[in-house]
């Protein structure tokens, strides 16, 4: 009798619960779905690295992880002679992450290029900033994206007992659990694939790029705008073999052009410019293209006397105060040829998700933030997200916590939003500042660049 009365009270309560104040789709699917601990949606560089990081984590030995990749499995039997035109600049922090689960060793066995110095200068003035590590450590590494992907795939295969990878699988629907813990509805996230199969998971990690399906399905607001720029990438052959361990970037009024070392004779080009100019560059014949690249780096056409004088004044002052901090402008190596069919363009934009986490959902990589390539930080921010999230999840797993619980997910969000927002804002500001040839702004940035070059701590604050 007592039990019946209590359960009737409970039933009244439950009936009141189910009238959806918050619309919550009740899952009527099979309860025989596999329940995964973590599902990573998106098998790109960041998604695959996240799956690796969790798969190799010591506290995840008992857990089940699933990686969903919409594309086919890319098998690289033999490294091709020609370099791929999509490369990434990997920071030392990202290299540490990659080596923590053994992928960096594979990359070292394939190919990568370390660079020790970076020169960034303006087209409208003589101002430049030179980054170099005093103790001759590597500042960063230029690695082809295919090489990184292959290394990650190999490492994933080695932990296939914990990490399942499904290729050609695109999630078409995500169903979120009710915010209130309810008696008969599953508390997990339900994922439906294109072929109809369904899974349940305690934590869904969205690593599916800047048009993230996970982010859209979760209804997370995304602040985004398109830059009126496209980036042109190509693989260039240098006129003569050099030590080639310097990364060059010049800010033209139309956009930054960067030359990243790949080998003694090869470099990769990333040229961000207007859509029309980018289309012209990709379609013009190779000789004209090579001339355009060389003149972009070498020509002083945008200099004005006023700015040159002003710049020289500050340079003189710096020379008096800190003689060792005066850097002479060096010229990048000249380009002889471009690899056939290596010219590609892609549009650029900025994006930042208002929230990185929701209950049982976390966003990493481009799904959370999309940045201009001028600082070479895009994938490094993604790898930073992975380090932070993997650390929080590892601690949570060792404490026996529910992996989808907001308490540690908000810790990840706070840590990364602080870092990423600052970097995104700075990159956007730089892009806008250097998009103009109006004299006052040129003067401002000339002096600013020279001053920053002279003040070492500020340079290292930027991460170099």
């Amino acid at each position: 009798m007592a039990a019946r009365l209590v359960s009737r009270c409970g039933a009244v309560g439950a009936a009141a619960y189910s009238s959806p104040l918050v619309s919550c789709r009740r899952w009527s699917g099979a309860s025989t779905d596999t329940v995964y601990d973590v599902v990573v949606s998106g098998g790109g560089l960041v998604g695959a690295a996240m799956a690796c990081a969790l798969g190799y984590d010591i506290h995840f030995h008992d857990k089940k992880i699933l990686l969903l990749e919409a594309g086919p499995k890319k098998v690289l039997e033999k490294l091709s002679e020609t370099y791929s035109n999509r490369v990434s600049s990997i920071s030392p922090g990202s290299a540490t992450l990659l080596s923590s689960f053994g992928a960096w060793d594979h990359i070292c066995n394939m190919r990568y290029r370390a660079f020790r110095r970076m020169q960034v200068w303006d087209a409208c003035s003589e101002a430049l900033i030179m980054f170099d590590k005093d103790n001759l450590d590597d500042m960063g590494y230029i690695v082809e994206n295919d090489v990184i992907m292959h290394a990650l795939t190999k490492q994933l295969e080695a932990v296939s007992d914990r990490v399942t990878v499904l290729y050609r699988s695109k999630a078409i629907r995500y169903t979120w659990p009710c915010p209130f813990p309810m008696a008969d509805s599953s508390p997990w996230v339900h994922i439906t694939l294109g072929d109809g199969s369904t899974f349940q998971t305690k934590l869904l990690i969205g690593a599916d790029g800047h048009n993230s399906g996970v982010r859209q399905a979760a209804g997370i607001q995304n602040v985004s705008w398109n830059y009126d720029q496209s980036a042109v990438v190509a693989t260039l052959h240098l006129s003569e073999a050099t030590e080639n361990n310097v990364a060059w970037q010049r800010f033209l009024p139309s956009g930054p052009i960067a030359l990243l070392p790949l080998s003694d004779t090869l470099s990769s080009l990333v040229w961000s410019t207007s859509h029309e100019h980018a289309a012209q560059l990709v379609s013009m014949d190779e000789e004209k293209f090579v001339d355009a690249v060389n003149s972009a780096f070498w020509s002083d056409a945008d200099h004005t006397d006023f700015i040159d004088t002003a710049g020289a004044m500050l340079q003189y002052a710096v020379g008096l105060l800190k003689p060792t901090k005066v850097s002479a402008r060096q010229l990048p190596p000249s380009v002889a040829r471009v690899d056939a069919k290596s010219r590609v363009l892609f549009p650029l934009g900025l994006g930042h998700a208002a929230e990185y986490v929701r209950p049982r959902v976390a966003l990493i990589g481009d799904a959370a933030h999309r940045v201009h390539p001028l600082a070479g930080q895009g994938v490094n921010m993604g790898f930073g997200d992975i380090s932070s999230l993997a650390h929080h999840l590892s601690t949570a797993a060792f404490n026996g916590k529910d992996l989808g619980s907001m308490s540690h997910l908000t810790g990840y969000e706070t840590e990364r939003q602080r870092h990423n927002t600052a970097l995104l804002a700075a990159t956007d500001l730089l892009k806008r500042l250097y998009s103009t040839s109006a004299a006052p702004l040129v003067l401002l940035r000339t002096w600013g660049l020279q001053a920053t070059n002279a003040v070492s701590p500020l340079k290292y604050l930027l991460g170099f």
Binding site: M1, A2, A3, L5, V6, C9, G10, V12, G13, A16, Y17, L21, V35, I58, H59, F60, H61, D62, K63, F180, P181, A183, D184, S186, P187, W188, K202, E355, P359, A397, F398, N399, G400, K401, D402, S405, M406, S407, T410
Partner: protein
Amino acid sequence: MWGGGKLGSSGGWFLRVLGPGGRNTKAVRPLISSVYVKNQLSWILQIKPGVFNEYRTMWFKSYRMTFSCLNRIKSFRYRWARLYSTSQTTVDSGEVKTFLALAHKWWDEQGIYAPLHSMNDLRVPFIRDNLLKTIPNHQPGKPLFGMKILDVGCGGGLLTEPLGRLGASVIGIDPVDENIKTAQCHKSFDPVLDKRIEYRVCSLEEIVEETAETFDAVVASEVVEHVIDLETFLQCCCQVLKPSGSLFITTINKTQLSYALGIVFSEQIAAIVPKGTHTWEKFVSPETLESILESNGLSVQTVVGMLYNPFSGYWHWSENTSLNYAAHAVKSGVQEHPMSAEFAFKGEAEELQANACTNPAVHEELKK
């Protein structure tokens, strides 16, 4: 964004109309169950209710209770009391009532049980690390694999589930059957936990005979301040423990500070804890606890204070045990029954015996 369970959010806390910290008067008891029914609606319709609105709503609704309901509840109450009056029990029926009313709220991490959810950040590592000392080679991913743990007063399974996730086989017991129902339902969705955890509606005394000396660890977290007979309760805990097994207790100290902060501030002013949850007279000081434990053959290894920050919602370890504290005691290695002790424990058992002889009443305070 997701802040809750701190001073800000209060959903349906004011169940007790008249809420002295002590025993409930007759007039109050019938109100509780009926208020539970009526208030389900008011909880849902107001997601973040103002404190005074809730109080007013509930007061008016309680007056509209029908007499038939009252009569049913009276008979229900007496029947419940009759069930328990025949056996020797440490379960307090008044306490059972309190928790019955809140049985559905266990798993809302930002709800009224939020402080208990965040206490897991302290008590799970406390239990895990002390148990890991006794395991020579633990499996990565399942560090507590092979351990049998009893969670007394498990409630909705807040502490049981993390222990299960760490690989232990856990039995959770609670006298309130709604709690066990909630706990059972919650773990049923996770196939791994479903196998590792078992729940039962019973009190500790009822299972003492059948489970004597079977558990590697007994956890009584936030329980000893709710039992009637502490001495009997701890004796039972000792009986179900294997020799050299561990007992983990977290509870509240009986001091002026704990009255001021734990009862007056937490329950009546800030509503961090539902009113009437705690009775100051039943709080246990570490000294009392230790003396009872030592007299029952349990040697206290660690006593360390815990502090709750109501603004951040997080707990911290503290050297000060005048509010909340956690204790770890180990049963002496002398076997009462001729059951084979595991080899791994033998060295520990001899060491503990030596300690017990030389330092009978000394406890070490772990400075964290």
